[in-house]
């Protein structure tokens, strides 16, 4: 059983009287332990797809099974549980809670599901170490650099030990050096801890690191089977001629 199985998913937004088709029949399967990059230009439907996979939004049609369970018909509270237990989110704009310090941001998803703070401490500190935030545990988000903030977000996504981490253009607001560090960190976590990542980007450079790349354009998958190296070659070819 695959972790994520999406078949024929469409998503239509109603914009006044016009309908915008953000996804027009997407199929995608993710296996546990994979590190998958969704590649596509701005407006191609990456965020829409990740939102549906992340149970933040419902598809207009099609089927979505997460961990073998159909999630399309659940109510808000059920979906909130699923998100809390099974999915970690990393956003382009970090989305930390500004009034909470690093530790508090990381432990937040665990506390709201009722985990004991004392019992958590060990795990939270371990995750903070894993992402290299050790010296900043008491800092508030506005005292951190972009890269550090994204590390907090990664730690927050990992601390619940989710089955899937969704990262929607997590490096778009970072400079290239920091971007590389963040990508390395995620790859490392994937390799060492077996965390499953789905990572969206429109930055071709990022693909050099990826193991599996799927391409989306205008709401349809252009190529779902490509390996990273094939993609890089293709891009290089495209760029140079």
């Amino acid at each position: 059983m695959s972790l994520v199985e999406i078949k024929g998913v469409t998503k239509t937004y109603q914009l006044g009287k016009t309908e915008v088709s953000a996804l027009r029949g997407v199929d995608l399967t993710l296996e546990r332990g994979e590190f998958t990059v969704v590649m596509g230009p701005s407006g191609s439907g990456k965020t829409t797809l990740l939102n549906i996979i992340g149970c933040l939004d419902n598809a207009t049609s099609g089927s979505y099974k997460l961990d073998g369970e159909e999630v399309g018909t659940r109510d808000f509270n059920d979906l909130a549980e699923i998100r809390n237990r099974k999915i970690g989110f990393i956003f382009q704009s970090f989305n930390l809670i500004p009034v909470l310090n690093v530790i508090e941001n990381i432990e937040f998803p665990c506390l709201i599901r009722g985990e004991n703070k004392k019992e958590l401490r060990e795990r939270v500190q371990q995750v903070a170490r894993d992402v290299g935030l050790d010296p900043f545990l008491k800092h508030k988000p506005d005292e951190l650099s972009g890269g550090q903030r994204q590390r907090v977000a990664i730690a927050r996504a990992l601390v619940t030990q989710p089955q899937l981490v969704l990262a929607d253009e997590p490096t778009a607001n970072l400079d290239s050096v920091t971007s590389d560090q963040i990508i390395d960190l995620m790859l490392h976590l994937n390799r060492e801890k077996g965390v499953t990542f789905l990572f969206s980007t429109h930055d071709p450079r990022v693909m050099q690191h990826a193991r599996r790349v799927v391409r989306i354009q205008d709401g349809v998958m252009v190529d779902g089977s490509g390996s990273a190296q094939v993609e890089v070659d293709r891009l290089n070819a495209a760029q140079h001629g």
């Binding site: 933040l56 808000f76 998100r83 989110f89 009034v99 909470l100 998803p109 506390l111 599901r113």
Partner: protein, 413 residues
């Protein structure tokens, strides 16, 4: 609260920290709440203090808490009060004095007639009183006295309203006379000596009232051993109805027993009216505070839309989102209101400890001290209204926050 301890603590922590996030705006809101609480308590304590002073003045300075008359007296008191007289019976007085809640009793013979300075005369309303008993019931009656009160030593010594004395140009120690119809209907007159004047702030009483020894009145009216009124003091003002009921029970149907509120309905009306005005003013403060809270919370929800989306993304449920904003509203009112209440109570205690603030009725020289009071009946409703009102004010913004759709909330800037 709704879920387990860590969940609730996390929401409470967030609620409190978010208050201090926009300090200026939160201060303004808490200021509005605090101002309302402060004014409510200050105004309230003085208005209630004033009402209490008025009642005390009525009970302890003028008419007693209860009055006992012969049945039917009340209807004829302005025409033939002397027809409804009672025996000056020490056993009767003792019987009333023994009733639970009664502090003191005093006999009176109330009549009207003319007072003369030898060349001019004018209408007056007189009370023959037993000075010892009278001033045990009316403990503050001597407060606005010049000269002496009615005493046992001076058989014809009269205490006269200040305006009345002035009108007749009677000076302390000066002589005059009283003229009245006896119970049998003949005119009679007796000399008097002015021993004191009084001005308690009541224009009518100052212009018309006069006190003489009971025996003097009995002699003037040809009513030895008789009286028309028994004034009763009680130990606890708030128990006056119960005491009245016991006195009625003890004395039976040949007597009528009236409370101060029945005898002076206008005093009770004024006190009630003051409370109503206070309530209306406080309602305005509450509405202002509520509008402030609604406004602040709605702005918070708008500014924190993406944060709400993030919280929802990591699994916070709608109920918890609304609870967080509700807590924030309540915490603001608890902080603003609590601080204001502390300040108000300290200020009120300080003023009360210094004897209140002086005030006098228009056109009178009698100075009363309004001592602010803070009964539970003022503090508890203020607290409850503030907390409930602001919680209510938080409901709409909280619901708006919880109804946000996560995807759209996350796309907000």
């Amino acid at each position: 609260m709704l879920q387990d301890k860590e969940h609730d603590m996390t929401l409470i922590r967030l609620a409190f920290r978010n208050i201090f996030r926009n300090k200026a705006r939160s201060s303004l809101t808490m200021g509005a709440i605090g101002f309302g609480v402060l004014m409510t308590l200050l105004l309230g304590s003085f208005i209630l203090g004033l009402g209490s002073a008025m009642i005390d003045d009525t009970i302890l300075g003028r008419i007693g808490a209860l009055q006992v008359h012969k049945k039917g007296y009340d209807e004829v008191k302005d025409s033939q009060p002397l027809d409804y007289d009672l025996p000056a019976d020490p056993a009767l007085m003792a019987q009333i004095a023994r009733i639970a809640g009664v502090r003191a009793v005093a006999p009176r013979l109330v009549f009207s007639g003319l007072i003369s300075n030898g060349s001019q005369s004018t209408m007056m309303l007189a009370m023959g009183v037993d000075p010892k008993a009278e001033y045990q019931v009316l403990t503050t009656a001597k407060d606005f006295l010049q000269g002496k009160a009615v005493t046992e030593e001076s058989k014809n010594g009269a205490l006269i309203g200040k305006d009345l004395a002035d009108a007749l140009e009677l000076k302390l120690g000066g002589a005059g006379s009283l003229q009245a119809a006896t119970k049998a209907g003949q005119q009679n007159a007796l000399d008097l000596e002015l021993v004191g004047t009084t001005d308690n702030g009541n224009a009518f009483e100052s212009k018309r009232q006069l006190f003489v020894p009971l025996a003097y009145a009995q002699e003037l009216l040809g009513m030895p051993g008789r009286l028309t009124e028994i004034v009763v003091g009680v130990t606890d003002r708030d128990e006056v109805e119960a005491v009245a009921a016991r006195v009625r029970q003890a004395l039976g149907p040949t007597y009528e027993v009236q409370t101060w509120a029945q005898l002076r309905p206008n005093v009770q009306d004024v006190v009630d009216f003051q409370k109503m005005v206070l309530g209306a003013i406080c309602l305005v403060f509450l509405v202002i505070a509520i509008i402030g809270v609604v406004n602040t919370m709605l702005m918070s929800v708008m500014e924190r839309t993406r944060e709400i989306g993030t919280m929802m993304a990591v699994g916070v449920k709608r109920r918890s989102i609304s609870l967080m904003f509700l807590l924030e509203a309540v915490a603001m009112s608890a902080l603003g209101g609590g601080l204001a209440m502390t300040v108000a109570l300290i200020a009120i205690r300080t003023i009360a400890a210094r004897g209140g603030i002086p005030a006098n009725a228009p056109g009178s020289t009698a100075v009363y001290h309004i001592v602010p009071i803070t009964p539970v009946g003022l503090i508890v409703p203020t607290l409850v209204a503030t907390l409930l009102g602001t919680a209510l004010a938080g409901v709409y913004p909280a619901i708006r926050a919880s109804r946000l759709r996560p995807v759209e909330a996350l796309r907000a800037t």
